[in-house]
Every structure is written in C-alpha cells, then in structure tokens.
C-alpha cells in the first residue's frame, strides 16, 4: 500500500510508503535526532524531526540506531522495546506499529546523567491519514 502526498510543494512528490517505514535515529549529545528520507522526483530528501518520530498504524517499522559519541539505551516501555545505540555498533530495531498512541521514548547515557530530560523523546503511532499530515508538515518545515 502506498499513499501519495498531495502537493509537490511540500517536498516529496512521490508516494510515501505507509506499510514500511524507515527512520534513522541518532543518539548524539545526549539527545535523540530522528530523520526520514522521503522520495521526491529529484531524489531522496532527508527530513530531520528532532526528538519526535511518527509512524503509521499497521506499518513495519525499521529504526536504524546509531551514536557518534556515548552509549545510549533506547527504551519504549509501552511497546516493550529495549535496545541501545553506540559508536561503531549500528543496529536496527524492527517492530510492527499496532497501537495508536503517543509513547515515551527514553535514552539514558550508560552510567551517565540519570533522568536527563534531553534524552527523552516521543514515538507516535498515527492513523495513516494523520501520519501523512505530519510528514507533510515536517517536510514543509524542513525546507
């Protein structure tokens, strides 16, 4: 299944897949940095979304985790996800987005500062239409 974004002016003018979503998630300077690669007729456009990432309900999600500096845990308790990001050890988290909701994403530097608010983020599972809207807005703001 694929949806087509309505306006090329928003950035991506090719279908945005909602059955499989790939997100790059980098733990850097004790904060999460998510980014999406959206396809356009001119090629791929990387859209950074900061500490928040959205995925559509029903999608298979692949998060490519990495970190250029510290070791960071990656935890989404609601979805029972526990992984880590570390330099030179890229890893992939794969899960099925089966519950609409806003889920807290935590990332504590290993043996670092506990309760570091900067290391918190959000993983939001949207209905596909809402996901489209969010992607469109992110692409627009990123321009």
């Amino acid at each position: 299944m694929a949806l087509l974004l309505s306006s090329a002016a928003c950035g991506p003018d090719l279908p945005v897949p909602v059955d499989v979503v790939n997100v790059r998630l980098v733990a850097q300077d004790r904060s999460w940095h998510a980014s999406y690669v959206l396809a356009t007729s001119a090629g791929g456009v990387e859209v950074p979304t900061g500490r928040e990432l959205h995925v559509p309900l029903g999608a298979g999600v692949h998060l490519a985790l990495s970190s250029p500096d510290f070791i960071s845990t990656f935890t989404v308790d609601d979805l029972d996800l526990r992984h880590f990001a570390a330099p030179d050890l890229p890893s992939q988290v794969t899960f099925f987005a089966d519950r609409v909701g806003r889920h807290e994403l935590r990332g504590d530097e290993l043996c670092g500062r506990p309760h570091d608010a900067r290391a918190r983020g959000w993983l939001v599972i949207d209905r596909p239409a809402d996901y489209q809207t969010w992607v469109r807005r992110q692409a627009r703001e990123a321009r």
Partner: protein, 809 residues
C-alpha cells in the same frame, strides 16, 4: 607577624565596619593548605568540609592562659552571632590546636563544652603536630597564643587577618565575614538534594529500630578517626572522570592493602592511586601512621594504577609489593625486610605489557612453594591522547568495549621461577582469559587441594578456571556456574554458613547501571524487564541480576543464595570479609556508591546472623551516614570552560521528580566565573584488620576522588572480646601459607578460614587470620591444611587473645 599579614590588617581596617555602602571586595592574601584533622567529637574534618562556606580561623590551646584565651571567648561570642544573624548564615568557625598532645580526648571535650562550641558551627581542630604546624603556622600565619582572627572565603582563600583583641574586633570581623558571605555562591550540587537525601533519615531510623530484633552482636560502634591517623592520601580521579565526566573504567578506583613491611609487628597500609601518587603509611601504633612512601622506594606517580598486593614472592619472610597499572606498566617491588623496596619489575619479567591491568592475585597454582601471579586485564578503554596529568584519555563508549573483539586484552598468568623471576605462563597453562575482568579470586572449588581461579567479568559472564594439575587450567565456567552476574566487580571467599566449604560472594555493580533503582530498592535485584537489552549483553543472557552468593554444597557444586541470605546491595564495588563482632561468624563490608552525577549511596555492613542470613547494620554501627555526604568534584572556570554542561546551564541539578519539559530545562541561564561542582562521596575498596592492635577489627576504605575512611571499632572497649590471631609460616608451602585452610574449634563448633590473602576489592595483603570466639574464652584446637597437603593440628586449650604463629612442619 608577617609583612603580608600586616598589609591585610591595614586593608581590613581601612574597609571599616560600615554597613551603609557596599563594601569593597577583600583582597586575596593567601590560600589555606589542605589538611586532615578531627574536631572535638573526633569526626574527621578536611579542607573540603569548609569549602563552600565562609569561615573564621584562630589558633587555640586548652591550656592557654594568654591572649588566645580571650580570643577563644571572642570566638564563642562570634558563634552566637553567627547563629543569630541572617547576614552570617552558614558562616563557620574553626580553631586549630597548637598543643595537640593536650588538646584531645576528654580535655578537648570539656573545653568545647565550656565554650559552648557546637561542632556544626565551631570546630575545634586537632590532630598530628606536623599537620597543624603546616596549616596554622605556615598557612594561616597564626603562632601559638595568637591574638589574630583570620577570615577565609568559600574557596579556601585567606581574605584578611584581624586583631582579635582590638576594641572593635567584633565589628571588623563581622563586617569581613558579611562581606565574604555576600559574594556570589559558587557551588553547584549535582544532583540537587545530594547533600541531604530525603530518604536517608528514614532509612537510618528504620535500620536502627531493627536493632532490637537483631540476634547478631551489634552493641559496638565505629568512628572514622582519619583526622587523628596522620593519613592524608587522596585518591585522585583521572581527568576524564574528575574534570569532564565521561563514563569509563577509570571510575572503578583503586585498592588499599596491608602488610607489616618493616617487621615491627604492626600492619602498614599501601594505597594505589590514579592521577596522583601512591602512598605507603607505616603504622606507629595507637591508630597513628607516618608517610614513608619516599624512603620506602614505593612511590608510583604519573601512571594510573588500580590493584595492589603484598605477598612474599621469594619466601624470605617479608612482604613484597605488586601494583597493577593502566597501559604504562605494572610494578613489582622487592622488600629488603626493613621496609625499603627495590623496583625489580624488569628483571622479574612482569612489566611492560601495556595493558589495562586491574586485579592482582598471588597464589601457588602448581604447588611448588612459590607464589605465582595472576593479573586481570580489563580491555582497551583508552585512546592515544593524554591529559595533562599524563594519563591516557578514555574512550567515550568504554562500556560497550565487550562488543568490540579488537579491544579485548588477555589477562596474564606469571609462573614464579624463584630468585625474583617470573615467566609468562598464560598460553602454556591454558588459562587464556580475554573477558573484561577487573578482579579474580582463588579457591579450591572441587576439594582436590589445588587452587582454582574464579575470574570476574564486569561486562559479561564470570569465568571459572579449574586447576587441572600439572600447571594447566581448564575452563569450566558454565558447567559450574550456569548463571553469574553480568557486571561483577569484587569477590570474596568465605564459609558463611559454617559447613566448612568455601562459598563465594560476588558483587555486581555494572548491573546497577541498567536501570535507576530508587533508594528503597537498593536491596532488590533488578527486574529482567529493565535489565540491559539482550543485544547489549553479548552473552547467553543467563545472569544473576545483582550480587551473587554461591553457597558450596559439594565439589564443583554451588547454589546461588544471595536473596535468601540477604546480601543484595546498591552500587557495590568491593566486599571485604571479617568477623567484625567477634562472634565466630564472618561478616561482610561492601564499599559502595557512585560519585558525580549520581545520588548518594552508602557502604554496607552485613552482619552474619549465625550462618542463617545476613542483616544490614551500617547505620547501627556508625559506618553510615557520613557526616558530610558530598565532596568537591570539579573546579570550573565558566568564563573559560564555556562548553562544560554546568557552565552552559544544561547540567542543572537533577531531580528524580523533575517534571519540567526539555524545553523548559533548556532555558536555564549559563553560569559565569568560578564554580565548584559537588558530588556524592563514594567508596571503592576496603580492608578489615586490627589496625590498633586492641583485639577487634577496624576498617580502612578508599574513596574515589576523596580521602579514605579509618573506622576504629570500640568493640574491645565494650567488654570482653574473645579472639585468636593466627599467623601462618609455610615451609614446603609458600611462606605466606596462601591457599591454606584453617579450622578453629571452640565452644562445640568449628569455623573455617581460607587464607587466600584477598582482603578486598583490588587488594591482597599479608596479615594474621582473625577468629572471633564468641562467648568462648579459649579454642580447643586449630587444624591447618597447608597448600602442600600437609595436615597439622595445634591442640588446645588456646587462650583468647593469643597471637599464634603456626609453622608448617
């Protein structure tokens, strides 16, 4: 009076006592030298205790009848003013003894009471004469019978000296103190609340209330007498941890070991250091020590060291010394029997490996009567750059090192060839161990008389190496210990349940990094749901999620009973074992806690309740809480260190209940100028021994980035204490008798002591075995099984208090 003092008095007089206009800043005229002394309640006080406070200093003597007697009365007046005046809030007073022989004990207590000196506000400081002279005469420029009052700012800088007998002394001194107190505070406490944890009082109260139900003897008390000991050693943290906090293995600290290095019958102390110099202290008796590092030839500086072990490597009857270090080479020193050492590292063939060395175990694995040496290597956690202190900088992902095979280092087994020479026997012995190991301990786990080796891993499974004989080891890890802690730090062999078999207690610190347990959860195991992600472990995932107590139930058979026995603790480093209450059952001290930027956790005392379980007693026995829970951790110049988190404002004191959004937290204002960041005090290693030779066991700790603690027990002053001390002298076996098993029979039961020399985390020592006899006034017999296999029995009665030397036939 010095020229400098006169100038400062003139300046101070010119400033006057007017409170109408804003006072000019007082000039900086000197710095107070670092010191370690004790107050009128025998609590240690060091310069760090006064950091962050404005204070006034005088000299005093309890026998003074001249000007200093009047100055003392004026200090009492000042103490009342400080208590009452908001402008003097948090100001402290410190009077330094000029006659420490007279200014101690009851005389000092009486003097303090007579002057109404509350130690929280007015400290009467006494201690070693040389320390006092250095601080009072040379630092504060206060002679005996001085009439001067010195004012000091929050950073320990002298800002003025006043005539304490002048008519307007009070107005002038108060004005100066108010002036300094009005300067911007430069202290940041990380995390917020670390000075006065909300949970501490209730935890102490709960434990103290439990004493009534405690069957194990607990009617005694420890007092930290560091200030009277003459020990000034400070464990200097590496730049990585102490200046720019990054998580790496440097913060694991260093060890402290004991032996009688000069043959005078008293047990001396050696402290390994990290970014500072090591120190050897000679025991003078009565709880006092002198620093003999230089003249002993054992000073190590400019390299980060970790473990320390005393052992008689040449069977000549004295304690030689091995110090393990990071990258820049471990060191072996040979003792001449009089406490003078020669560095024989090169000729012995035990140095120059460039590894990240840590734990040190001397044991005789091939039964030839010579102590062999096992040195654990952690793995490569540093990079090529060096800091100004000469230490290699740490990598930022040190705790993922186990997932990088190229960073592992093989631990080292050295076979003792005699005559001070060793050969690297790692490969030919088959003991090729490449886990991330900071410690190891020897034990005879299968009862075959040979010493096996349990090697801890701080990032993975512990490994068990069975001694197969013939100088060979075989790896039997998972067969014997299917599940071990993942983050093991320290281990001790003991017979905790009195069945005569060697049990094994292992502390697990790294698992405490996996989730943030709350204070009330320190005695709980971690939840598997919040343990490290499976892909981070690098193992099969079968772990004890915290400390382990492996009870030996037969040859190569162990049952994990940590929860049943009650030995889970929070953020533990190293355990030490000793019969603290002399009841014939081994107790445990766990050096514990983490510094910046974590919350305070205390060390633990686990009293053995008759072999049935252990009960916590650190608050009952006076080990906890420390009077001051924090230590100055980082000194920052926020005009220069603009990127440091504390300076940018991003590193605001942390609160568990902080509900601010990330955006709100990012609006914190940057800081400027000088900042002192304070962090929790925390211990690493400890040794339990009879420091003052009074028949009970005392405790000395190392504390990271901090001074040690010297806990003196008053058990022997509380009434009769029954005990034996047993020194072993091997003949066919190694001279220290390492590997011997000693069974003491008294009052119808036998207690079993294992002479493995392991005294605590990162440490091995040479000292008599201590056997408490409980209510028995004599022992019926002592049976020794020597490493050579010989059995020897000394028949009683052997009277309590005996120090018995048993020589192998």
């Amino acid at each position: 009076m010095t020229v400098r003092t006169v100038i400062s008095m003139v300046i101070a007089a010119a400033m006057g006592a007017s409170g109408c206009r804003r006072a000019e800043p007082l000039p900086v005229v000197g710095e107070v030298p670092a010191f370690v002394l004790e107050d009128q309640t025998q609590q240690p006080v060091d310069l760090g205790d006064l950091r962050g406070s404005v204070w006034a200093a005088t000299s005093f003597s309890t026998r003074c009848t001249g000007p200093c007697a009047t100055v003392a009365d004026h200090m009492a007046t000042l103490a009342k003013a400080v208590a009452a005046a908001p402008a003097l809030k948090a100001v402290k007073l410190a009077s330094f003894s000029t006659d420490p022989d007279a200014d101690s004990g009851d005389a000092l207590g009486q003097y303090a009471r007579g002057h109404g000196a509350d130690p929280a506000r007015w400290m009467l400081l006494t201690g070693p004469q040389e320390t006092l002279q250095r601080v009072v005469r040379d630092g504060l420029h206060l002679p005996a019978d001085s009439r001067s009052i010195v004012v000091v700012d929050r950073q320990g800088r002298i800002r003025g000296t006043f005539d304490g007998l002048a008519a307007d002394w009070e107005a002038r001194v108060r004005a100066a103190l108010e002036n300094l107190n009005g300067e911007p505070a430069t202290d940041v406490f990380v995390p917020a609340g670390v000075r006065e944890p909300w949970w501490l009082a209730s935890k102490a109260k709960t434990q103290q209330a439990s004493a009534a139900q405690l069957a194990a003897r607990h009617d005694f008390h420890f007092t930290d007498r560091l200030g009277a000991s003459g020990i000034t050693f400070k464990l200097q943290a590496s730049t990585d941890v102490g200046r720019f906090y990054t998580a790496n293995h440097y913060d694991h600290g260093t060890g402290v070991a004991v032996a009688d290095v000069d043959g005078d019958g008293r047990l001396d102390l050696y402290f390994a250091n990290q970014a500072g110099a090591s120190a050897l202290y000679r025991n003078l008796g009565g709880g006092r020590f002198e620093d003999i590092t230089e003249r002993s030839g054992t000073r190590v500086n400019g390299r980060a060291c970790t473990g320390v072990a005393f052992a008689d490597i040449d069977n000549d009857g004295d304690a030689d010394l091995f110090v393990s270090c990071v990258r820049q080479g471990s060191l072996l020193f040979q003792n001449d029997g009089h406490g003078r050492f020669t560095d024989i590292t090169a000729s012995a063939g035990v140095g120059g490996f460039g590894t990240h060395s840590s734990g040190v175990v001397f044991f005789d694995y091939d039964g030839d009567g010579l102590l062999d040496l096992f040195v654990t290597n952690v793995g490569k956690y540093t990079r090529e750059e060096r800091w100004d202190d000469g230490l290699y900088a740490a990598v930022r992902d040190a705790f993922a090192g186990h997932l990088h095979p190229d960073r592992s280092e093989t631990s080292l087994l050295f076979h003792n060839l005699g005559h001070g020479r060793f050969e690297n026997a790692t490969q030919k012995s088959g003991l090729v161990h490449a886990a991330w190991s900071g410690e190891a301990t020897a034990l005879d786990a299968d009862g075959d008389g040979r010493q096996d080796l349990y090697v801890l891993s701080m990032q993975g499974h512990d490994e068990f190496w069975r001694n197969a004989g013939g100088g060979r080891f075989e790896r039997r890890s998972r067969q014997v210990f299917p599940a071990t802690p993942w983050g093991s730090m320290g281990a001790q062999v003991l017979d905790w349940n009195g069945d005569g078999r060697p049990d094994l207690y292992v502390t697990d610190m790294h698992t405490d990094m996996s989730s943030d347990l709350q204070p009330e959860e320190d005695a709980r195991k971690h939840d598997p749901k919040t343990f490290f992600p499976a892909d981070f472990l690098g193992t099969d995932g079968h772990h004890v999620l915290g400390n382990a107590l492996f009870t030996n139930t037969g040859p190569l058979t162990f049952v994990e009973e940590s929860d049943k026995a009650g030995v889970e603790t929070g953020w533990p480093w190293g355990p030490s074992v000793g019969d603290l209450n002399a009841d014939g059952w081994p107790d445990i001290f766990v050096a514990a806690g983490m510094n910046y930027p974590f919350r305070y956790r205390g060390s633990d005392v686990l009293l053995n309740d008759g072999g049935r379980r252990f009960v916590p007693a650190e608050y009952i026995l006076g080990i906890e809480p420390r009077r001051r829970l924090v230590v100055p951790w980082m000194e920052l110049d926020c005009d220069a260190d603009v990127k440091q988190d504390i300076c940018t404002g991003e590193q605001e004191p942390l609160l568990a209940e902080d509900t601010r959004t990330p955006e709100q937290r990012h609006k914190i204002q940057p800081r400027h100028g000088h900042i002192t960041a304070w962090a929790a005090r925390a211990s690493r290693s400890a040794v339990i021994f009879d420091l003052d030779d009074d028949g009970d066991l005392d405790i000395v700790t190392t504390n990271y980035g901090d001074l040690p603690q010297v806990f003196i027990s008053d058990l022997s002053q509380r009434g009769d204490v029954h005990f034996l001390k047993v020194k072993l002298v091997g003949r066919r076996s190694n001279r220290d008798g390492i590997g011997a098993v000693v069974a003491v029979r008294a009052n119808g039961r036998t207690q079993t002591l294992f002479n493995d020399g392991k005294t605590g985390y990162l440490a091995q020592g040479v000292m008599p075995l201590y056997a408490g006899l409980g209510g028995a006034t004599q022992a019926d017999s002592i049976a020794v099984t020597w490493p050579s296999g010989r059995q020897q029995t000394v028949r009683g009665p052997i009277q309590s208090g005996t120090v018995l030397t048993i020589r192998e036939p």
